[in-house]
């Protein structure tokens, strides 16, 4: 249920940028969500439909780009997807591994309508 706060934050960021640009409506939000962030798309969507109502972003589409969690081998620099049972490099079997990606969570861009030029 922590997606409610996250969704409010999302709406705040999107409307702030839309207002700065003088937009009349937000039609789409492009989000980048790493696998390690424990954010559930369906939950965000559920809250979004409720809280975006009556705002610039009412009816806007949420587009989620999921970034898989990846690990990097410190020995041979090979990057590979995280598997949840074994943290070992599949190429060289080294166990010197670090996290390379999957912690992203940001609003990448929004599509907006601008007022027609006069």
């Amino acid at each position: 249920m922590h997606e409610l706060g996250v969704t409010q934050s999302l709406l705040e960021i999107a409307t702030r940028h839309a207002e700065q640009a003088g937009a009349t409506r937000i039609t789409r939000l492009s989000l980048v969500v790493g696998e390690l962030t424990s954010i559930v798309d369906d939950s965000v969507q559920f809250y979004w439909d409720l809280i975006a109502a009556g705002t610039l972003a009412e009816g806007a589409m949420l587009e989620f780009r999921r970034v898989p969690a990846t690990l990097r081998c410190a020995n041979c620099a090979h990057e590979f997807p995280l598997s949840h049972d074994r943290y070992v490099c599949p190429r060289c079997e080294s166990s010197r591994i670090t996290v390379a990606g999957g912690e992203e969570f940001y609003l990448e861009s929004i599509d907006v309508d601008l007022p027609a030029p006069v």
Binding site: H2, T37, S38
Partner: protein, 221 residues
């Protein structure tokens, strides 16, 4: 259709509030701990042992994110200042909940504030509270695979406790497998195997916290 590039982190609002909390703790010269674990991992027991070990040398307060005050009543009976952050069944504490509870604690009368988070290895990892030290407690009966299943929690830890070590021999707990998972996620993480029942490792934990308190006192001048 015009596209506006943004690239702004979505948890920003919580992070900003967490920074505000941090400034409040720093101004009061209080060291703040955020204690996270599964339900039944030993958060309350560990906090009790920390209080036993340090109460003669540090003024300690406890904030607890919970739906009932059971855990706090024992501490309050010992004269420890306590504050219940009623989470109403929420799955984690966030910076705003802690902020709202701050007026109920006299920070100027404390050296150490221990914040007990909601029992959960997933959600609390995403929400900074403004604490100085994230304490993560895993426990032997949960199994050695926890770092592999809940990577974000272990990645955000500043110190890791493995509780209920007195059960390790009965549970065939693979400490090497557990520690390897942790090392990948959080290289060099400070680690104490402990048992709240037998007292194993608690002296080392107390000594480590004593150093952190001394650093805080030095920063205070």
């Amino acid at each position: 259709m015009p596209n506006i590039p943004i690239v702004e982190t979505i948890l920003n609002v919580n992070d900003q509030l967490a920074e505000q909390n941090r400034r409040i703790f720093d101004q009061a010269g209080v060291l703040a701990l955020n204690v996270m674990a599964s339900p039944g991992g030993g958060k309350t027991s560990t906090i009790g042992r920390i209080i036993d070990a340090l109460r003669d040398e540090a003024r300690i307060g406890v904030m607890d994110g919970d739906i009932v005050a059971i855990d706090l009543e024992g501490f309050a009976a010992q004269g420890i200042p306590v504050s219940l952050i009623n989470t109403g069944g929420n799955c984690h504490l966030d910076a705003n909940m802690v902020h709202s509870a701050l007026p109920s604690m006299d920070l100027s009368a404390l050296d150490l504030l221990i914040i007990e988070n909601v029992g959960n290895l997933i959600c609390p990892a995403a929400f900074k509270l403004g604490s100085h030290i994230n304490v993560v407690i895993a426990s032997v009966p949960e199994g050695a695979d926890k770092p592999y299943k809940y990577p974000a929690m272990f990645r955000g830890a500043d110190v890791l406790l493995l509780n209920k070590m007195d059960l390790a021999e009965y549970m065939e707990f693979d400490v090497a497998y557990f520690r390897h998972g942790v090392e990948v996620l959080n290289p060099g993480l400070t680690f104490f195997p402990i048992s709240c029942r037998t007292g194993e490792g608690l002296g080392d934990l107390a000594a480590w916290l004593r150093l952190r308190l001394a650093e805080k006192a030095q920063a205070r001048g």
